[in-house]
Symmetry: C2
Subunit: 407 residues, 2 copies
């Protein structure tokens, strides 16, 4: 189905009937009914004071796989039900290696040591007195999109792209703290360690720390326990596991520390049997969230195609959408403000004619990098990998309006 060359929405378009939305003319429907909820007092204010979603909504994170033990698990964000760019804290994806510790913030300590002039121990009370910043950024697990070897027509976007969320993170810039302790000239890497039972630990080159935050708040409130309460490292644009949760220790060194999570795990196996190590950056990627797997179109007519695009290298500069399996592409509208290393919502009006359609998106970032096709991705990296899949993704609309995943 070729994309329509004319505006799909506009004056008279709905009521003229051409686009088939079922909204009725008032005369045909009769007067507006007065529903029961308009005839009786509603409930009072929420108690105990922290609100929850409507019981008519089915908003929940979804466990990904059956974990080997309860503490090594992940859950994903239901993007098929979400709008805009912010992920509510209750729906932010999770990935734990040793469970979620219950940390008393009054007892928590952060130590900074190693190749520094003045090693330091800080309480949370100390830390919140430093100058702070707030920034909107996405966070994506490098294991998001499990499409290297497998596919499943029943997958929803929560299954394929749910290890991705976006929030406003507030905390102290790591650079501010490093200034305080005085990094020695020979230091070039740091180790970050979590206070969880896994002592989750990663090495990072100092050159990769642009914009790093010692974060104590997300979307205005204190970090959630599953996001590292009371303190996490947040590294914009880099694979999620580097943003060490429950941060207790930073050590400066002159080389990588070669921890378990960067030797046996979180490397990318190439076709020749070698492994890419320290693949930090999440490259440009996008996905259509409406319509997407599990959705059902009710009738032919006007719809809005909508999705998310992001890049670990900066701003998204363009997203193109195809409804004919890649034969032709049209530019989507990007929701302003388009922020660096943040989810960007894109949208395109679409008229569904009732026939089959294959809907895809591809993103380009400010470096000029464009999200690759699956074919190009596999040609470069083979199919041995677990992490860093960012190929173009598709949703098949069948003649009856059902929507299913296709590889």
């Amino acid at each position: 189905m070729p994309p329509s060359p004319v505006p799909l929405f506009g004056r008279r378009s709905f009521l003229a009937g051409a686009l088939g939305v079922s909204g009725g003319a008032l005369a045909a429907e009769g007067p507006l009914q007065v529903p029961v909820w308009s005839r009786e007092q509603g409930r009072g204010v929420a108690s105990p004071g922290y609100g929850v979603p409507s019981s008519f909504e089915r908003l929940a994170r979804k466990p990904r796989t059956v974990p080997a033990f309860p503490g090594a698990a992940s859950t994903s964000t239901p993007h098929q039900h979400l709008h805009g760019t912010i992920t509510p804290n209750g729906l932010h994806f999770e990935r734990h290696h040793g469970g979620v510790p219950a940390i008393d913030p009054g007892q928590h300590r952060l130590v900074v040591h190693g190749l520094v002039a003045r090693p330091l121990i800080l309480t949370m009370d100390d830390l919140v007195r430093f100058p702070s910043v707030s920034r909107l950024h996405f966070l994506e697990c490098s294991g998001n999109t499990p499409a290297w070897q497998t596919t499943n027509p029943a997958w929803t976007v929560q299954d394929t792209h749910g290890l991705l969320s976006c929030a406003e993170w507030t905390g102290v810039e790591l650079a501010t703290l490093l200034d305080e302790v005085g990094v020695k000239p020979e230091a070039s890497w740091l180790l970050a360690e979590g206070a969880d039972a896994a002592a989750m630990t990663r090495s990072l080159p100092l050159s990769a720390l642009d914009g790093a935050i010692l974060a104590y708040a997300q979307n205005g409130e204190a970090l959630r326990p599953e996001q590292g309460y009371p303190l996490r490292l947040f590294l914009p644009g880099l694979e999620g596991n580097l943003s060490i949760k429950w941060l207790r220790r930073i050590k400066l060194g002159d080389r990588p520390f070669q921890t378990r999570e960067e030797t046996s795990k979180y490397t990318d196996l190439m076709p020749d049997g070698t492994a890419r190590q320290f693949t930090f950056t999440m490259e440009a990627k996008s996905v259509v969230t409406t319509p997407s797997g599990g959705h059902q179109l009710k009738e032919p007519g006007a719809y809005e195609i909508s999705g998310l695009a992001w890049s670990g290298r900066g701003r998204i500069t363009g997203v193109e959408v195809s409804v004919d399996g890649g034969a032709s592409w049209r530019p989507a509208v990007l929701q302003e403000p388009v922020l660096s290393r943040c989810l960007t919502r894109f949208r395109l009006p679409w008229r569904w004619d009732g026939g089959p359609a294959l809907i895809q998106s591809r993103a380009t970032d400010e470096t000029g990098y464009r999200q690759p096709t699956r074919e190009a991705l596999v040609a470069a990296r083979g199919t041995n990998s677990i992490y860093h899949y960012n190929g173009v993704y598709g949703w098949q609309v069948a003649a009856g309006g059902s929507v299913r995943h296709v590889a």
Copy 2:
């Protein structure tokens, strides 16, 4: 206490001891202890899949007054505990006139009628097919800041400025829907009506609808019940009650409809006994949230002063902070991106010398309007009003570090 002319944070400032943060040198503290939560597996992923804050946090909306009946109540946002600019949905302030209705979205209808070419009834399924937008905006009740006649040294910023929140709102631009129904040339006002038991109803001139959204989502997910689920009108920059929740009806007319909520309520009584009517816009305003009433400074030294600024007329262009009761002012840093009709976080490093300090802020917006002093505000409007108080506000730091409200 005059503001410090020199940078308050910088290389060596903490460990040199001059600013007195209690973070300890590593040698003095001994090795980092291994806490109990590092020695045992944490809990598994959250169940049933919608997460909640840490039990160590006391995050809750606060009922404002004892209501005449349960459905006519309000709760306020705890800005003294928040960071950044986003308000989590669970903490967004509430104001209800007839309680919170439990609306089945499948049964909800929106009718548009009156001076239109094609009156229309829409379901929620219809509405989400229209082109949509997402925008970050504050919402403030015109009754926020109850300072015209009263003051109370025990007030926190939740008491004084808690009928203020900020979220990313997603929905259909009202202009898009009005294009569909065809507004007749003689129409100049509209009526918006809620489906709650109060049938909350307000008139709005079409000239005041710039950026108006038929919103079905906040911060990514479906509207919360107390914010109008499944549909509200959202009017950026205008007093909160105009953003009709549980929106069921829009009627176009050629004059204001003179509803109860714009005749007996939501007007401003002036010194001469007349009342200002249709005072829609929330003028520029700001408040320091850290430190603020109820906080306790532990010791002299370096702190960050932080707060929120906003204007219903556009972007905030500057915020100045005084720590000497208005004798001198210094410009604060505004967190980017500074968005139109959105909360803007401002910050300023501060060194507390241990003596008394009176901390205030004043905001200026892109129209050049500057938040007035209380004296200037009362000179213009007297003290008969209930709504639209936007005077400069202060917090008194006592010699012992306790922080209290002052008028």
